[in-house]
């Protein structure tokens, strides 16, 4: 390696460290304060304690909200996967009248601001007379996030060879068997990636949720958001750290499962 290369490698390394520091420093600060005895998040640190974690786990409002968020996210993942994967296959493998329009419409939630989606859902559910509830939030998240699943899975489908499926059917398998044994294994990692992304997006969503939840169905971001107004409580900081750790764990596991090829955005791939 030349001297020049060495310098640029060091430079890139330094830059990387700076970028990571910029991204992660706020989270590290939060994590430190979660263990501090301070009741407000200000220096100096007066001491260290696990008390806030115990308080957080004992806080019914927080725990219920966390449970609500997880349930909504799981339901949203299920719904968006069930709708999004077939939609991606449809768009990639078939021609049908109105296909271009279908592609554009299904991607709308990606483009629209969350509040617009939220208001739209609110008006729609009101018109058809469905009472607001956490179930509706799951339904709305699942529907809106279908576009995310579609984009991710479609990008992978573009790179897979339709000839494999033709061969499968030539050899006597029906469409369902072909999907199960040939198509799905080919796009497996992208489906998992889409599911994880959907889970995260649903988990910390506020604007859509606020417009359609009811019946005491507060999600975790809603509780944190409405509490912050009044005070910044140490047990909430601790709870955030727990959620952060779970998130890191899931992402680490996922990256082990997934390959490292970056997904191609649908617009770039052309349709």
């Amino acid at each position: 390696m030349t001297r020049r290369g060495g310098t640029s490698t060091t430079l890139v390394g330094l830059l990387a460290v700076l970028v990571y520091a910029f991204l992660y420093f706020p989270m590290i600060v939060v994590a430190i304060f979660a263990f501090a005895t301070n009741t407000t998040q200000t220096l100096p640190i007066e001491g260290f304690t696990f008390r806030w974690f115990l308080d957080a786990i004992g806080d019914d409002v927080l725990v219920t909200a966390f449970r609500n968020s997880v349930l909504v996210a799981l339901a949203a993942v299920t719904l968006s996967t069930v709708l999004g994967v077939p939609a991606a296959i449809l768009v990639d493998r078939y021609r049908f009248p109105g296909k271009v329009l279908f592609q554009k419409f299904i991607l709308l939630p990606l483009v629209l601001p969350g509040v617009v989606t939220g208001v739209a859902f609110q008006s729609f559910f009101l018109l058809i007379g469905l009472p607001r509830s956490l179930g509706l939030v799951a339904l709305a998240h699942g529907t809106a996030l279908t576009s995310t699943v579609l984009t991710t899975v479609y990008a992978r489908l573009l790179r897979s060879d339709p000839a494999m499926e033709e061969a499968s059917m030539d050899l006597g398998m029906n469409r369902l068997q072909t999907f199960w044994h040939v198509t799905l294994p080919g796009i497996r990692t992208s489906v998992i990636a889409a599911a994880l992304l959907t889970f995260t997006l649903s988990f910390d969503e506020i604007p859509v949720t606020i417009f359609i939840t009811g019946d005491g169905g507060n999600t975790l971001p809603m509780v944190l958001w409405s509490t912050l107004r009044r005070e910044s409580r140490p047990e909430y900081v601790a709870f955030t750290v727990v959620v952060l750790l779970v998130g890191v764990l899931v992402v680490t596991l996922a990256s082990k499962v997934l390959d490292d090829r970056p997904p191609v955005p649908i617009a770039e791939a052309g349709g």
């Binding site: 407000t40 009101l126 506020i206 606020i210 005491g216």
Partner: protein
């Protein structure tokens, strides 16, 4: 209480969303039900007179906390299901969108009047709320909850917007809003990122009707705020942030909306005090109200009466840090709370201007956004 931020933050977006939601849902509601009935002019007492199994609340976080609400559930067997809001605009948007899905709501005093005028809330049967007799008159007879049908709201808690300062760092007597313009404290001042900052500035300028300012008066306020801007550390947005700013020593003087900021600072050894300036101060109060479509007026009244009990008001103060609305609660809370909210010196209340609906609210908000952005 109300804490809408006027910046282009998530809060700002939500405020816009509230307005958008109100428009969209009002249109949808109109399309859905065609003929609207006129707002009630008397309490509708035809509903069931036994406690309902469930009371659905749309309220600020903490306003139905188990620490004081469990007594209600124990006595009446009524479960309270609360959906939280982050601003009054959200509340209005949710209410117009989900008419009939909530039994109690907790709007702030500057929002209640609009709700009454829009027919979104129903009048209360005050005979069912005997504890209202011990409620401070300034809430009981507040015009913002009075309408054709009588009384529409029962207060939950309240506070005023005082000057807060660190006595060790700010010398001399502080008795005027002008301390927030004092060059001695340049770089150590913070003010609320809220419409209230406009009211406070107007008070300093000697404007009496701060909720109905003319274009000219708003111009004066703008000028004064521009003069203040270089002296500020920052505009604070949440109470937690305000507390942290004082604790870290970044600011020595500012304004607050009551609550836990003062007790937390004092508990941490800081000699902080809150004062009502001589020019007066604005005050907020959140009311419990019943949406027009709710069938549970009786159970809602039971809740309101329960909340007005002196001892429950003390528990509410303990959890939220806000001031009690019942006269008799003053004897049940700590001397610190009595002092913070001037509960032993009711003549101070005469210097408070309770928030009102502001007709040209948008002009006020634009002004603040403009000052912050310039």
């Amino acid at each position: 209480m109300n804490a809408q931020s006027k910046s282009f933050s998530r809060r700002g977006a939500l405020r816009l969303a509230g307005i958008a939601g109100l428009t969209a849902t009002a249109a949808a509601a109109l399309a859905a039900c065609g003929g609207e009935s006129a707002p009630a002019t008397a309490p509708n007492t035809s509903g069931p007179k036994t406690p309902a199994k469930e009371l659905r609340a749309l309220c600020w976080e903490g306003y139905t906390d188990a620490s004081f609400a469990k007594g209600f559930t124990e006595q009446y067997g009524t479960e309270i299901k609360s959906t939280f809001i982050g601003s009054n605009d959200e509340l209005v948007a949710q209410l117009t969108g989900g008419a009939g899905q909530f039994d109690i709501i907790s709007p702030s005093v500057d929002t209640t009047q609009s709700l009454i005028e829009a027919g979104l809330v129903q009048p209360l049967e005050t005979a069912w709320i005997p504890n209202l007799h011990n409620t401070y008159d300034m809430f009981r007879t507040n015009k913002a909850v009075q309408g054709q049908g009588g009384t529409y709201g029962v207060p939950m808690c309240w506070g005023f917007v005082p000057v807060i300062y660190d006595r060790k760092k700010v010398n001399g007597t502080v008795d005027s809003w002008s301390v927030l313009w004092d060059k001695q404290h340049a770089g150590q001042i913070t003010v609320w990122d809220d419409i209230t900052t406009i009211y406070n500035t107007a008070l300093l300028l000697g404007i009496t009707d701060v909720y109905k300012m003319s274009k000219d008066q708003l111009g004066q306020v703008r000028e004064k705020l521009m003069e203040q801007k270089p002296l500020l550390t920052k505009y604070w947005a949440t109470a937690g942030e305000l507390t942290n700013l004082f604790r870290s020593g970044e600011v020595v003087v500012g304004d607050s909306f009551g609550g836990f900021t003062l007790p937390q600072l004092r508990a941490n050894g800081m000699d902080a005090v809150e004062v009502i300036p001589k020019e007066g101060a604005t005050a907020w109060v959140d009311f419990w109200m019943v949406p027009a479509q709710s069938n549970n007026l009786y159970t809602a009244a039971l809740w309101m009466d329960y909340i007005q009990r002196p001892e429950v008001q003390a528990q509410v103060n303990k959890f939220t840090g806000y001031a009690p609305t019942n006269v008799k609660t003053a004897g049940l809370v700590s001397p610190d709370v009595v002092k913070q909210y001037s509960l032993d010196d009711a003549k101070n209340f005469d210097r408070l201007l309770f928030w009102q609906k502001v007709e040209n609210r948008q002009a006020y908000l634009d002004l603040l956004v403009g000052v912050k952005a310039s």
